[in-house]
C-alpha cells in the first residue's frame, strides 16, 4: 500500500462555493444518486474514498472477502431491486479480481457502477505498483468505461455512468479513478442532466410494427410467447401477463426470464431450451407465430439454428437493435423498451378486439405434450433426489423466497422445480455461467431485502469458489439459507462426460471435500446435514425456523442423477434426451 501522497486540509464550511476532494465527490455523488449500499474491498488506491465513506452514514459499505464477491453482491442487489448496484475496489489485483463479476453482469445485462482505484495520473503507463490497464481489460465486458484524469470531470462522469448503466439495454459501467484525483479539490455540484449526443436508446416501439405484430398474433392458430430477461429488466411482468392472458396463448420463459410470468399459471409451459420442458420445446418447434420479448435467441435456447421454430413467423421486441436478427432472422422487428411497448400492445389489443379467437386445438396438442411429464423423478426412501430437495424448498417457503443459484445441475433443478410466480425472485448467472455467483449473490439480495427469505441453491463444487464469503455473512448477520445439493461431482461436467465422452470422468469427481457442517460452524453459522430422504423436510424446516441465523444445509444427494430433458448442443430442440 502506497503512503498518502498529499495531506488534506479541512474545507471551511463557510465558503460559498463548496470545494470538495475527489474522494468527497465520489461519496457525495453516490448519495445524490440515491445509493444506499456499496459492496467493496479497500486498498491503497481507494483509501481516500474509504476514509470519506467512513465519515458518513447515508451510504453503507459492505466489506466482502474477495472483490469478485463484491461485484456479484452488487449485481444481485440490482437484480432483486431493479436499482443500479455499486461496487468499489482498489487498483491492480482489486480490479482484476472484479473482472469475473463484471463480465457476469455484462452477459446478463445487469446495471452496475463499478469504481476502481488507479495509480496516480503521473504514474499511469509506468508499470507502477498495483497498476493494470483497467479500462483496457474491462473494455470488452462493460457497457462503457471511463478513466477520470481530472477531478473536475468526476461528478459528471459518475452521473453519466449511472445513466448509461440503467438506460437502454442495461449493463455494468466502470469508472477508474487515479488516486491523486481523489485527493484533488474542485467545486462540487451534482449535474442534473447527462449530455450524450451519441447515445439515445429507443423507448417507444413503432406503432405500425406493433399493429402488424398483433395482427399476426390474432390470426395465428398456434401462437407462442417466448420471453426473457428483458421482461424482468424492464419491470413489465404485469403488462406481459395481461397481454398473454388476453391472447390465451401459451408462454415459455428463458432461464433469465423466469418469474416474468407466473409459473403456477395454466398458460405457462416452463422453461425452453437445452434443459427446457418437453412441452415448451415442442411448442417452439410447432408454433406458427413466435412472439419473442426481451429474449436474445441464445444458443442454449435455440439449439440448432437451422431447425429452430421452422414453421413460425417471428416477432421480436428488444431495446437493443443488435439483439434483433442476430441469430435468427425475424419477420416483425420492434425496437423499444418493453414497458412502453407492452402497454401500447395491450391498448392496441383491446382496440383490435384480440383475444376472442379459439386456440382449442393448439391447447389440446399442448396438453398431450404435457402428459409426457418430462420432469418426472422417483423419490425412494434410500437416496435423496436433488429435485426433491428443491421441490421441498419450494413448498416450505411457499414459493416466496428469493432463490440465488450457482452453476451446474443444481441450477437447472432450481430453475425447473422452484416455481417463480413473481419477477426478481430468481437470481442466477445465465450468460457467463459463473460458478461462485450464488453465495455473494445471496448476500446482495439479503442486504436489499432484509425481511425476505433468501436461499442459495448450490453445489459442493460451486460453493467452494466463494466460500470465504461465509465470513462476510457472519459480519453482517445475513440469515441466508444455503442449500448445497452435494453430489460429490462437478455434476454438470459429469453428465456431459457420461453422455458425450463415453463415460470417461476426467477431473469431475470432487475428492477431499470439506465437512461443510463443521465449516459453517467454524465461521460461526449453523450447519445441518441431510443424508436420507426422511431428513430433507426436517432440515429445511429447522433452517427456516432459525430466522436470524445463517444456515448451511448439506444435502447428500444421488451422485449420478442427470438433468432431463436435455437437448444435446447443436441438435434441434425436438431432439430431446428424456428420462
Amino acid at each position: 500500500m502506497s503512503a498518502p501522497t498529499q495531506t488534506r486540509e479541512r474545507t471551511s464550511s463557510s465558503t460559498e462555493t463548496e470545494e470538495l476532494t475527489g474522494a468527497e465527490i465520489v461519496v457525495r455523488a453516490l448519495r445524490d444518486e440515491g445509493v444506499e449500499t456499496v459492496f467493496g474491498y479497500p486498498g491503497g488506491a481507494v483509501l481516500y474514498i474509504y476514509d470519506e465513506l467512513d465519515k458518513q452514514e447515508a451510504v453503507q459499505h459492505v466489506l466482502v472477502r474477495h472483490e469478485q464477491a463484491a461485484v456479484h453482491a452488487a449485481d444481485a442487489y440490482s437484480r432483486s431491486t431493479g436499482k443500479v448496484g455499486v461496487a468499489l475496489v482498489t487498483s491492480g489485483p482489486g480490479a482484476t479480481n472484479a473482472v469475473t463479476g463484471i463480465a457476469t453482469a455484462y452477459m446478463d445485462s445487469i446495471p452496475l457502477v463499478v469504481i476502481t482505484g488507479q495509480v496516480p495520473v503521473a504514474l499511469i503507463g509506468n508499470d507502477a505498483f498495483q497498476e493494470v490497464d483497467t479500462v483496457g481489460i474491462t473494455r470488452p465486458c462493460t457497457k462503457h468505461n471511463f478513466l477520470v484524469r481530472d477531478v473536475n470531470e468526476l461528478a459528471q462522469t459518475i452521473k453519466t455512468a449511472f445513466y448509461l448503466a440503467a438506460s437502454g439495454r442495461p449493463g455494468p459501467v466502470l469508472i477508474d479513478i487515479p488516486k491523486d484525483v481523489t485527493a484533488k479539490r474542485c467545486r462540487y455540484e451534482y449535474p442534473e442532466k447527462v449530455q450524450l449526443r451519441s447515445y439515445k436508446p429507443t423507448v417507444k416501439g413503432h406503432s405500425g410494427q406493433l399493429r402488424k405484430a398483433l395482427q399476426l398474433i390474432a390470426n395465428a392458430e398456434r401462437p407462442l410467447f417466448y420471453t426473457g430477461g428483458g421482461i424482468i429488466l424492464s419491470d413489465s411482468a404485469a403488462e406481459l401477463t395481461q397481454l398473454v392472458r388476453r391472447c390465451d396463448a401459451p408462454i415459455t420463459n428463458t432461464l433469465m426470464g423466469l418469474g416474468g410470468y407466473p409459473a403456477s399459471d395454466r398458460q405457462f409451459l416452463g422453461m425452453l431450451g437445452m434443459h427446457g420442458t418437453y412441452e415448451a420445446n415442442m411448442a417452439v418447434q410447432h408454433c406458427d407465430v413466435l412472439v419473442a420479448l426481451g429474449a436474445r435467441f441464445d444458443d442454449r435456447v435455440t439449439g440448432n439454428l437451422s431447425h429452430f421454430a421452422p414453421h413460425a413467423k417471428i416477432i421480436h421486441v428488444d431495446v437493443d437493435p443488435a439483439s434483433i436478427s442476430k441469430n435468427v432472422k425475424v419477420d416483425v422487428p420492434v425496437v423499444g423498451d418493453l414497458c412502453s411497448v407492452l402497454r401500447e400492445m395491450n391498448e392496441l389489443a383491446e382496440e383490435m378486439g384480440i383475444g376472442d379467437g379459439s386456440l382449442e386445438r393448439w391447447w389440446a396438442q399442448i396438453e398431450e405434450w404435457r402428459q409426457r411429464d418430462c420432469l418426472h423423478y422417483t423419490q425412494t426412501d434410500t437416496i435423496i433426489k436433488p429435485q426433491y430437495v428443491v421441490q421441498k424448498l419450494f413448498e416450505l417457503t411457499a414459493g416466496n423466497a428469493i432463490v440465488t443459484s450457482d452453476v451446474g445441475q443444481h441450477q437447472m433443478w432450481a430453475a425447473q422445480f422452484y416455481g417463480f410466480d413473481r419477477p426478481r425472485r430468481w437470481i442466477n448467472s445465465g450468460g457467463l455461467g459463473t460458478m461462485g455467483f450464488g453465495l455473494p449473490a445471496a448476500m446482495g439480495a439479503q442486504m436489499a431485502e432484509p425481511q425476505s427469505t433468501v436461499v442459495c441453491v448450490t453445489g459442493e463444487g460451486s460453493i467452494q469458489m466463494n466460500i470465504q464469503e461465509l465470513s462476510t455473512c457472519q459480519q453482517y448477520k445475513l440469515p441466508i439459507k444455503v442449500a448445497c445439493l452435494n453430489n460429490g461431482y462437478l455434476g454438470m461436467v459429469r453428465q456431459w462426460q457420461e453422455f458425450f465422452y463415453e463415460e470417461r470422468y476426467a477431473s469431475s469427481y470432487m475428492d477431499a471435500l470439506p465437512d461443510f457442517v463443521k465449516l459453517a460452524e467454524a465461521y460461526g453459522h449453523i450447519g445441518l446435514r441431510a443424508e436420507k430422504p426422511a431428513d430433507v423436510e426436517p432440515v429445511i424446516r429447522e433452517a427456516l425456523r432459525l430466522k436470524d441465523r445463517m444456515v448451511f444445509m448439506d444435502f447428500l444427494v444421488d451422485r449420478t442423477e442427470n438433468v432431463y430433458p436435455m437437448v444435446p448442443a447443436g441438435a434441434a430442440l425436438s431432439d430431446m434426451i428424456l428420462v
Partner: protein, 162 residues
C-alpha cells in the same frame, strides 16, 4: 461477401479508437483497412473502415458500431455513390534507364515524384485502392524499396453529409 466502406463519426476521445478496433477483433469481423483523423469539428473524429462480409454480418457490424457509446453516426458508403481515395508513398530503386521508365509510369498514373536521390525516387500517388494496386503491379517487384499506404478515405457524392 461484399466489400463495404463504412464511415464512422465518433467522439474524438482517448480510447474511442480502441473500442472500435476491439469490437472488430472480439466479434471476428474482417478489417482490411482502418483510418481515423479529426474532422472540421475538433471534438469529432471520422473513421473509414474497409471491410467484407455477408449481408447479415454487415447488419450486425453497423448495429454493433452504433451501440458504442462514443459513436455518433455510422454509414455504409458502399450503399450509394461515393468517392474513395487512398494515398500511397512508394520508394523505388531508380538507376540508369530505369529512371526514365519509372518517371513515365508515374506520369501515366498521375503520380508525383516527391523525393529524389541518385539511386531512388519516392513517388506519391492517390486514387482508389485498385489504381494503387495496378501501379504496384506495373512496377518490377525488384525495384520496390518501401511502400506506405494510408488506407482508404471515402465520402459520399452530392451536396449532403452523411
Amino acid at each position: 461477401m461484399h466489400r463495404h466502406i463504412i464511415s464512422v463519426l465518433l467522439e474524438n476521445e482517448a480510447g474511442a479508437l480502441s473500442r472500435v478496433a476491439g469490437l472488430f477483433s472480439a466479434r471476428g469481423y474482417n478489417i482490411e483497412a482502418m483510418t481515423v483523423a479529426p474532422t472540421h469539428e475538433a471534438s469529432v473524429s471520422r473513421m473509414t473502415i474497409l471491410t467484407q462480409g455477408s449481408e447479415e454480418i454487415m447488419e450486425q457490424v453497423l448495429k454493433q458500431l452504433n451501440k458504442l457509446v462514443e459513436v455518433i453516426r455510422v454509414h455504409d458508403l458502399s450503399e450509394g455513390p461515393h468517392i474513395e481515395r487512398e494515398l500511397m508513398l512508394i520508394k523505388v530503386h531508380a538507376v540508369g534507364s530505369d529512371r526514365e521508365e519509372v518517371k513515365r509510369l508515374a506520369d501515366i498514373f498521375r503520380g508525383r515524384i516527391i523525393d529524389v536521390t541518385d539511386r531512388s525516387y519516392t513517388i506519391e500517388l492517390t486514387g482508389t485502392g485498385e489504381k494503387l494496386d495496378a501501379f504496384l503491379h506495373a512496377l518490377d517487384p525488384g525495384m520496390v524499396i518501401e511502400v506506405v499506404r494510408s488506407g482508404a478515405s471515402a465520402i459520399s457524392r452530392g451536396a449532403k453529409s452523411i
